[in-house]
Structures are given as C-alpha cells and as structure tokens.
Symmetry: C2
Subunit: 249 residues, 2 copies
C-alpha cells in the first residue's frame, strides 16, 4: 500500500494557483519518485489545509497545481518539548519523534551536563519538515534557538505545567498529576545523558509549575524518554482520542 506523495510547501495553496517547487523537492519528485506530468501529489502549508494537486514538469522543475482541498487545517495541542541536545543522530531522532507525537514547539536547552555544544537548529527544521510530511501532520513544529535552562525557566509562564522527567530521583507516575494536566497545554523537559546536576534538580524542584514524573523502574535513554513522556501526555489529555487520518492510496 503506498500513499500519494505528500509535500510541505512554503506558499499559499489555492485552487488552480500553481506553485514551482524548489530544486530539492523537484529532484525528489521527478528523479527519485519518477513522477511525470499529470501525477497526483498532496501538499500542505500549515495554513490552508491539505490539497490534492496535479504535477506538471518544466525541465528540471516540478510545478504543482492545487485542485481540491482534501483536508481542512487543524493543529495539535499546545505541547512544548524542552530537550538537552545529545549526539547528532540521536538529536535527529528526538526531532523526528517530537514531530510524530505532535509537539508544537521544540526548545533545545543547554544544561550542566549537556555534551553537545553545537546546536543545528537549521538541520532540525529540515528534519521536522520531512517528519511532518510523513506523519500526516498538518502543521510544522517550531524549532526555537537553544538557550540555557535557567534562562528558559526564568521567563516561564507559571500557568503552563512543566513535566520534568528525572530518572535519578523520586518522582510520581504521571497519573498522580491528573488535575494539573489539561488540554490547554504543557511542556515536557528531558535531560541529557547523565541527567541533571544537583543544582538544576534543586532549582527545578522549587518551582511550583514543575511536575516531576517517573518513567518506570529502568533507566531510559533520552530519546526513549521523549517518546514515553509525550505518549503519556497525548494519551491522557492530548489529541490521542482522535482517530488517525487515513489518506487516499
């Protein structure tokens, strides 16, 4: 079973208003997928919903012409992920996973034990686009520039609970916090290898909006903890009561 190719475009989607695709997308459709004039593709831009489009080829450039809106615009809950960048490939997984699991805003945070100093937010944005295309998501997650954890905390809106996953200290299962969790939004904080420093732990535990949760009796890698924590939130108060969207094949 293979679905019709699905593309994010940075242009308005409007019936019969053609869009010339950038070189990389053109190459993908024409050379990798080997699509030809008249092929169907799907396109979304985060604003105008999803459209079925007809492809036309002009030399090396693929042009798409929106024909019918196949899906109205929606966006997921106001869910933020704060994560300490880890090694390159594994930070890539975090961005992929956050996109699949419906994170609206990604905020890389530098912590005392963060090893990775170079944070490639440009690369993260590219990965997030690809993941959004594949996961049938209708909007793109935001990638904020990296900042130091204390700075993120100093400007925090105390109405937004910050779910803090710390494997090296006492914490409650997420079910204990049910009354603090609503679909108005939340943020999840995942640390680097080696967890948080004692200074960071003390800082976090003094903040009333911080909810320390446990992810079970085994130590999870950072990227696994990301998926587990997002799953718990989405299934309890997020958009996981909604059925998956089943695209045309």
């Amino acid at each position: 079973m293979s679905h019709i190719a699905r593309l994010y475009v940075d242009a308005p989607l409007k019936e019969d208003v053609e869009i010339g695709l950038p070189e990389a997308q053109s190459k993908y459709l024409l050379r990798v997928m080997r699509l030809t004039d008249g092929a169907r593709v799907r396109a979304f831009n985060g604003v105008d919903g999803e459209w079925r489009c007809a492809l036309s080829v002009r030399g090396k450039i693929a042009i798409i012409v929106p024909q019918t809106q196949t899906r109205a615009q929606i966006s997921g809950p106001d869910l933020t992920l704060l994560f300490a960048p880890i090694k390159k490939a594994r930070t890539d997984f975090i961005v992929d996973n956050a996109t699949e699991l419906g994170v609206r805003t990604n905020r890389p945070v530098m912590t005392d034990y963060t090893q990775s100093q170079r944070v490639r937010t440009d690369r993260m944005r590219t990965l997030a686009i690809e993941a959004a295309e594949q996961t049938e998501r209708m909007d793109l997650p935001q990638i904020r520039e990296a900042e130091a954890l204390p700075k993120s905390l100093s400007t925090w809106d105390p109405d937004i609970p910050l779910i803090y996953c710390d494997e090296a200290s006492e914490a409650a299962p997420i079910s204990q916090y049910r009354e603090h969790l609503t679909d108005r939004g939340a943020a999840i904080l995942i640390g680097p290898e080696g967890g948080f420093s004692p200074k960071e732990r003390n800082l976090l535990r003094e903040l009333a909006y911080v909810l320390p949760i446990s992810l079970g009796p085994r130590i999870l890698r950072a990227e696994t903890a990301v998926v587990s924590a997002l799953t718990l939130w989405q299934s309890q108060v997020g958009d996981w009561q909604k059925a998956p969207y089943l695209p045309e094949t």
Copy 2:
C-alpha cells in the same frame, strides 16, 4: 555523574567465586574503560541478583570477584512484543527500546508487507544484552526465532490479550480496554512499514483476544509505535508504578 560499569555475565554470581570474562568484555573494561586491578564493577546474570565485584587483571583477561549482593533478583511483567522486522538499524532500535521498556519476550513475526527477509536473532541477542546492562535491568529479554504471523496466532494462548496497533483502521484508545488488561501479562503487535494486509486485518479482527488500539491521529514509524504502545501498557498495568533503581556512582 558516572555509574560503576555494569556487566551481564553468563556464570553464577557467588561471593568470592571468581569469573574470567570473555575477550570482548575484558577488552572493554581494560582498554576502553581503562580499569585496573581492584576497580569496582557491577555484574548480573538474570538469576542471582546484582553484585558489586572487584576486578583483577591477568594479562589481557579481566577477572571479576563478586563481593556483595547489591540488589536482589527481580523480573518485570510477562510482556511480549511481536514485531515485523524492518531495516537493520531500525530493527536494532526496536530491540533496544523493548529492552529498556521491560519486554520479557521478543518475537519477530513475518507479515505480508515485511520487507526484511533476513532476521539476525543472534545480533538482536547481543543488542539486548547491552541494552539490559545500560537500563539497570535485572534479566535478559528472550529473542525467539522469527515465524510467520499466522503461525504465531494459530498457537496463541487466548488468555493473553494481544494488543494490536493498526494505524490504518478504526481502533479505540487503550483506556477503553482497561478491564481486559491486567498485570498477568499481554503481548503487543506492531506491523512493518505499510501496516498489515487486508487479509491480516481480517484475521486479527476475528480473534477475541485481539484488542485493536489507536496511537493517535498521526502515523507513527514502527519503532516509535513500539515505544508508545509499551509505555501505555507499562504505565497502566505494568511495572511503572515502581520507582527507578538508583545505582551507586
């Protein structure tokens, strides 16, 4: 913060009864970790709990001598993962994740849309050992030999619920099945890229022990679905009410 090295050994752990480690583990401790005579390591074998041991070096071979049992033997719930093998690196992640999330038995199943024909269960066992060492797990997950999905189903114990994650059809959130889920055990079935064939879907949906669950409105990659589904089960009826084990540093 760095923990004392933790090793799985295939030998009885008993006070003062020394164990000569195989070449790969010896090399890791002596050359990679650069440990020397008298260093402390931790060892577990899935039977005798976890022991603090003293290292001694004989040429290129590392010997460990168990000194004190630091943790009694425990094992997690009777949780089985049935998964369709996918591309190599991504199947590796599935094994890692299943180990971290407390799966007792891994069963690779060949489905109609399974691309990967070669199933390296030997490699999976090696990965599972490494993941068990790192996740503070006390037992090793089993890796069964691959078999065809209909064969796995034909010998299924109908008292064990089979949680079936199918993104391309109607299904309920896991919370709808609360009365069917108990800590006596369960299995989770995750398909390959492209999901299940219509024939497989029909077969699965006719079986009374199969619980079709939804993993939200976006399409997840197989390895993400593994983590999400295991998280839901572990947090609702599994061992996630237990606090993490905090090893000595």
